[in-house]
């Protein structure tokens, strides 16, 4: 048993190395003074970071991406709360089908979602802008928000709410005073995950943003120019660091929520 465990452990560690290979390389190239992204490395520099900082288009793209990600995260989480509450607390005919349909974007190829939405928007004469991107992002963030929120709502003890009713609270005030604080860690975790998904989403932003840049579409446009790539590596390093911080926060709140409800600390984001 021990020998087998060692072998598997070595394999699992190698696999982690495979998973992290690109992320480990990213800062190496971001601080490398050579202009070509290849080994051997030349020398240490922070020029690419200052170049990134001074780039005006990049700032516009960042602002757009932040507006989109914040709006999409809030809207997706709000809609997700409705769905999670409905699916965990109430029984009604057709629930499975309706929930399945809402969760469909999770498994549908994004290109199909983007293309069909684009065709309709163009057909209806809607001006493409960051607003249309938000509409699309809410759709694809919602299933992830629901997955997280359903876990939070399902570990909720129903008798707590009933106790609140018995003590004279109305349905809404019981929800606000009892349920909401208990599922708050789930809500924060859902906001963070939706924000991260939206910030990194490329396909929908690429087709639905019109001529407005977002961070991923800006990165995509710059990857064609070898001269710009070191700066993109610097940008990537910042983004990776940022998403690791956000995810760690999300994980922290998820675990704290679980601990508060007495659940076991296993499970992941998906």
């Amino acid at each position: 048993m021990k020998g087998q465990g060692r072998g598997l452990q070595a394999y699992a560690l190698l696999y982690l190395l495979f998973l992290y290979a690109p992320i480990i390389l990213l800062p190496l190239f971001a601080f490398n003074s050579g202009t070509i992204i290849a080994f051997p490395l030349q020398g240490f520099t922070t020029d690419w970071f200052s170049q990134m900082w001074a780039n005006a288009t990049l700032r516009t793209a960042l602002t757009n991406s932040l507006i989109i990600a914040v709006s999409a995260a809030i809207l997706a989480t709000c809609l997700g709360i409705f769905a999670a509450r409905a699916s965990t607390r109430f029984e009604f005919p057709g629930k499975g089908g309706m929930m399945g349909f809402i969760l469909l974007p999770m498994v549908l190829p994004e290109i199909i979602v983007a293309m069909s939405l684009l065709v309709v928007l163009l057909g209806a004469g809607v001006q493409l802008s960051i607003l249309t991107v938000i509409v699309g992002h809410v759709l694809i963030c919602m299933p992830y928000a629901i997955a997280i929120l359903t876990t939070a709502f399902s570990s909720l003890d129903k008798s707590l709410e009933e106790a609140a009713y018995d003590l004279g609270e109305t349905r809404w005030s019981a929800f606000r005073l009892v349920t909401l604080p208990l599922v708050m860690p789930g809500i924060i975790s859902s906001l963070l995950i939706s924000f991260t998904i939206s910030l990194d989403e490329f396909i929908i932003a690429f087709f639905l943003a019109g001529n407005q840049p977002t961070l991923p579409t800006y990165i995509f446009s710059q990857l064609r120019f070898p001269k710009q790539i070191p700066m993109i590596m610097a940008l990537g390093t910042v983004l990776v660091a940022l998403s690791i911080v956000l995810l760690a926060l999300g994980e922290y709140f998820r675990r704290r929520g679980n601990a508060r409800m007495g659940g076991n600390p296993t499970g992941g984001f998906l």
Binding site: L8, Q9, Y11, A12, L16, F18, L19, P22, I23, L26, F29, I37, A38, F39, L79, F82, A83, A86, R89, F90, E91, F92, K95, M99, F101, I102, L104, P105, V107, L108, P109, E110, I111, I112, M115, S116, L117, V119, V120, L139, M142, T196, D200, F202, F207, I219, F220, L223, I232, G236, L239, V240, I244, L247, E251, N264, P265, G267, G268, L270
Partner: protein
């Protein structure tokens, strides 16, 4: 009691209405639109409202479409196979060998790379696998090879490697969940009844883990077949997959009906594959209960 049920159902509908209507408006309506478009005729800058099967005939007879469709299917199948085979031992390790309090940390470590910029990850694989990329330059530097390895250069192989990396957590998590559900006493029973460790794995663990494996297959297969970025960046647009073809028809060539027919056909193929796997899965679920 009947009245109570009605009230409960009413509340349920009221709650689920906002997200459901949103999905109806933003997802179902557009999907129905492209389904309709796929039966209409293309005019200059417009779509003519004449019913036709021509788009589907073209999709199924055009050699270019067939090549691209087959390539997409092959790439997706390969990616799925590689991803699931590589992921299974990791899921097994985390479920059976890692101490319970460490499991969440392992899963967290596995999911982190998945959430970091997809575009940059794909681009970095091009850097790792490229002509004077990390692998080739270090192997030449060490004197192991004289010429760069060509089988990983900007081709279908490099697309497969990149996608296998991108979808790794998708494969690990469902398999892990299925393995976690296995009652450990069943394995002891198998061993007590005189089965070897390998046979216990083959006859007890693997069949019980199959629902997770099949879920992993679907979760990897469906998005990879529609991947747009990897063929575009790694293949430099020279090895298109179905998503790239749909985009070209819809936007660059402005042939919405043909683009719609392509999209609908791709979705139909994906749905067909999914149904086959769900039916197989039903067999394994029956074994379990």
């Amino acid at each position: 009691m009947a009245k109570g049920l009605d009230a409960q159902a009413r509340q349920g509908y009221a709650l689920i209405a906002p997200p459901f209507l949103y999905a109806l408006l933003i997802l179902a309506a557009p999907l129905l639109t492209i389904l309709t478009y796929s039966f209409l005729t293309d005019g200059y800058l417009t779509v003519v409202r004449d019913f036709t099967w021509a788009n589907y005939v073209q999709v199924w007879t055009d050699p270019i479409v067939r090549t691209v469709m087959l390539r997409s299917l092959t790439v997706s199948a390969l990616v799925t196979l590689v991803t699931v085979l590589l992921a299974f031992p990791v899921a097994y390790y985390v479920s059976f060998m890692v101490r319970p309090e460490k499991k969440a940390t392992w899963l967290f470590l596995i999911t982190i790379p998945f959430w970091t910029s997809y575009l940059i990850r794909v681009f970095l694989w091009k850097v790792i696998l490229g002509y004077n990329g990390v692998i080739n330059s270090s192997l030449t530097g060490l004197g192991i090879i004289d010429e760069p390895l060509t089988f990983i250069l900007y081709n279908v192989n490099s697309i497969v490697i990149t996608l296998a990396h991108a979808y790794a957590p998708f494969a690990i998590l469902p398999i892990f969940v299925a393995l976690e559900k296995i009652d450990r006493s069943l394995l002891e029973a198998g061993r007590d009844l005189g089965e070897s460790r390998a046979m216990t794995f083959w006859r007890v663990t693997l069949p019980l883990a199959m629902p997770g494996v099949l879920a992993a297959v679907l979760i990897v297969f469906i998005p990879t077949i529609g991947d747009y970025v990897t063929p575009e960046l790694i293949g430099g647009g020279k090895i298109p997959m179905i998503a790239n073809l749909i985009q070209v028809q819809m936007l660059a060539l402005d042939n919405r009906p043909l683009g719609s027919a392509l999209a609908v056909t791709a979705m139909a193929i994906v749905a067909l594959v999914s149904i086959v796997f769900l039916l197989i899965n039903r067999r394994f679920l029956k074994v379990r209960s």
